[in-house]
């Protein structure tokens, strides 16, 4: 009886999980399938899930019309660059908060997180003006800095959660063994927190890769990443759904593959500390 109930439960839960998973994945699947349709098929009504006439034409056209590779390189540079910058600042910050907290540490952390609740558009004008004055518009360095700042609260929070799991005794042992603060971080803290740092890096790369608000508003051509490349396919003359889908597929493919390969690590990172 109990066994039957468990099996039934399993079937219900698994079916529900598949339905939710497919619902979430459906827009991506639709985009990928549309990218293989002709423009005519893409806007046909009623729509068909699978392309009636499979074609790679959209991909060739997208590549010939705009330089995919240049945008791809910009995306890579911006997302990895902003992640490295964020880690350089967040590792010492999270160390201080986890191992040398003051009575106000908790408040500072909440305040940091609260900045994520503010709509980005609220600071667009001042930041745009600052960037213009500093000559950082349409510049990968400028984007790296702004994306690093946007994601920094999350990076600090995630690392803090990881570092809290490391026994303080071990860091004190390193201090007794003659390690300076820098060596304590490099030889003891960072190697012990590698899984946490890796999943934080991964999440930050994904967030930076997908970021559209700042990349669209602060770039024009030179520093434009893949988000701008997709946006360039929505034009005043109308939407070319099939080409837009091909561009989107090309833009999300690298991060999709990266996410797929590292999903275990990512899930572990995001749920770390939730269950002891």
């Amino acid at each position: 009886m109990a066994r039957a109930a468990t099996t039934q439960r399993k079937i219900v839960v698994t079916t529900a999980a598949w339905i939710v998973g497919l619902l979430i994945f459906f827009p991506i699947l639709w985009t990928i399938l549309t990218s293989f349709k002709t423009e005519g098929d893409a806007i046909a009504f009623p729509p068909s899930l699978f392309p009636p006439h499979w074609t790679l034409e959209n991909y060739f056209e997208v590549q010939s019309r705009s330089d995919y590779f240049r945008h791809f390189v910009n995306s890579v540079v911006i997302s990895i660059g902003s992640t490295v910058l964020a880690l350089l600042i967040a590792v010492p910050a999270a160390w201080a908060m986890a191992f040398s907290p003051t009575p106000k540490t908790r408040d500072i952390m909440m305040w940091m997180l609260s900045t994520k609740m503010m709509p980005a558009v609220g600071v667009l004008v001042p930041i745009y003006l600052i960037f213009r004055t500093l000559g950082l518009l349409d510049n990968v360095w400028g984007l790296m800095v702004i994306l690093m700042l946007m994601n920094l609260p999350i990076v600090v929070w995630m690392l803090y959660t990881y570092f809290k799991e490391i026994p303080v005794d071990i860091l004190e042992a390193a201090r007794m063994d003659g390690a300076t603060l820098g060596k304590e971080l490099v030889y003891v803290l960072v190697p012990m927190a590698v899984p946490g740092i890796a999943s934080t890096m991964l999440l930050n790369v994904i967030l930076a890769w997908n970021e559209a608000f700042w990349t669209l508003n602060l770039t024009a051509a030179r520093a434009a990443p893949l988000t701008a490349f997709i946006a360039s396919y929505s034009s005043p003359e109308g939407l070319f759904w099939a080409k837009l889908s091909a561009a989107s597929t090309l833009a999300i493919a690298p991060i999709l593959v990266l996410g797929w390969i590292s999903q275990k690590q990512l899930v572990r990172g995001l749920t770390f500390g939730a269950v002891k």
Partner: protein, 335 residues
């Protein structure tokens, strides 16, 4: 050389003084044990010496040099933690060699020193393992190995045996004592276990609520406790205390008699009582006796004394071994 001096050391967290005012002088090569109940400040005192906590006021001198503000790394002390605190991502060899690497020693010299330490501690065949693949005792030995390779001025032990099982604890206790005889380096050892304190120490510091109650050799503490707290804390089973009229007969507020300083007789004696629980250990028998008008007392009788629950016995304290205390708990001179 490794002498340690504390001069009026105070450690407060906000308005709460964990260590109100501690002064202490540990001689070079001495094995000193800090003992006291949980929360008495013994670990804090050790961490102040290590430099892992900052003093609020007072001075800490190492070999006569003021090290109060020096970083832990600069004090040339080694510490063994209760949790072992091994680096989980390093092998045993890397763990032991870590302090030497931090000191900038070259690789060949580190290898030689690590091998030597591993030899002393019977760890040679485990050098390539990681801490998670070692037993508790082996981990503790690695922690000790990491401490001895750098030849520190003094070793600090923070309850190093409390995570081990009873049998292993006795073994490790002997090993640490043996190590002290070999190295002749100053050792400061924190424990809440008075048996560890009595068996290992050259001198013992008894702490209570952050105050040093007494500092002396194990036998001094046993024979001439400075106050009621030390008298009760040192010795196992605990000293029996009696106050009121019986104490007044001895001209004191309270008197204390150790379980081993009372004679047990079935027919006659000073205090009459009934045996509650009799613990037969073979070598000794501990009797918990309800003494008429005085309360529960523990008595050590000969091992094979056949006394049981409900038996009536007479207890007679050895008059020369009665400790007298005033109303503040301070010891009074022998009557």
């Amino acid at each position: 050389m490794g002498s340690i001096q504390l001069q009026h050391v105070n450690k407060s967290f906000g308005t709460h003084a964990v260590i109100p005012d501690a002064s202490l002088e540990i001689k070079d090569g001495e094995f000193v044990v800090f003992v006291g109940p949980s929360g008495c400040g013994k670990s804090t005192l050790l961490r102040l010496i290590a430099g892992l906590e900052d003093t609020t006021s007072g001075q800490i001198l190492l070999d006569g040099q003021d090290m109060t503000a020096a970083a832990p790394a600069k004090r040339q002390l080694a510490m063994v933690f209760q949790s072992y605190a091994l680096y989980p991502h390093m092998t045993v060899a890397q763990n032991i060699g870590f302090p030497l690497k931090m000191a900038g020693m070259d690789k060949a010299a580190i290898d030689a020193k690590v091998k030597e330490a591993a030899g002393v501690l019977n760890l040679t065949s485990y050098l390539d393992r990681r801490p998670r693949n070692l037993s508790g005792g082996q981990r503790q030995r690695v922690a000790i190995g990491r401490a001895i390779v750098r030849e520190p001025k003094a070793f600090l032990f923070d309850e190093p045996l409390s995570n081990l099982d009873a049998a292993l604890r006795v073994n490790m206790r002997l090993e640490i004592s043996e190590l002290h005889h070999q190295l002749k380096t100053t050792m400061v050892y924190v424990t809440h276990d008075q048996v560890e304190a009595m068996t290992m120490a050259d001198r013992i510091v008894v702490l209570n609520a952050g105050n040093i109650e007494q500092f002396g050799t194990p036998m001094e503490l046993y024979r001439t406790p400075a106050n009621r707290f030390v008298a009760g804390f040192i010795g196992s089973p605990k000293m029996n205390f009696v106050d009121g009229a019986e104490a007044a007969k001895h001209g004191a507020f309270a008197i204390g008699v150790r379980p081993e300083h009372m004679a047990v007789n079935k027919d006659s004696g000073l205090w009459r009582g009934t045996v509650g629980v009799a613990e037969h250990l073979g070598s000794d028998t501990f009797l918990h006796v309800n003494v008429d008008g005085l309360g529960l007392m523990t008595v050590r009788a000969e091992g094979e004394k056949q006394l049981h629950h409900g038996d009536v016995v007479w207890l007679t304290p050895d008059p020369s071994r009665i400790y007298r205390f005033d109303k503040d708990g301070q010891a009074l001179a022998a009557a």
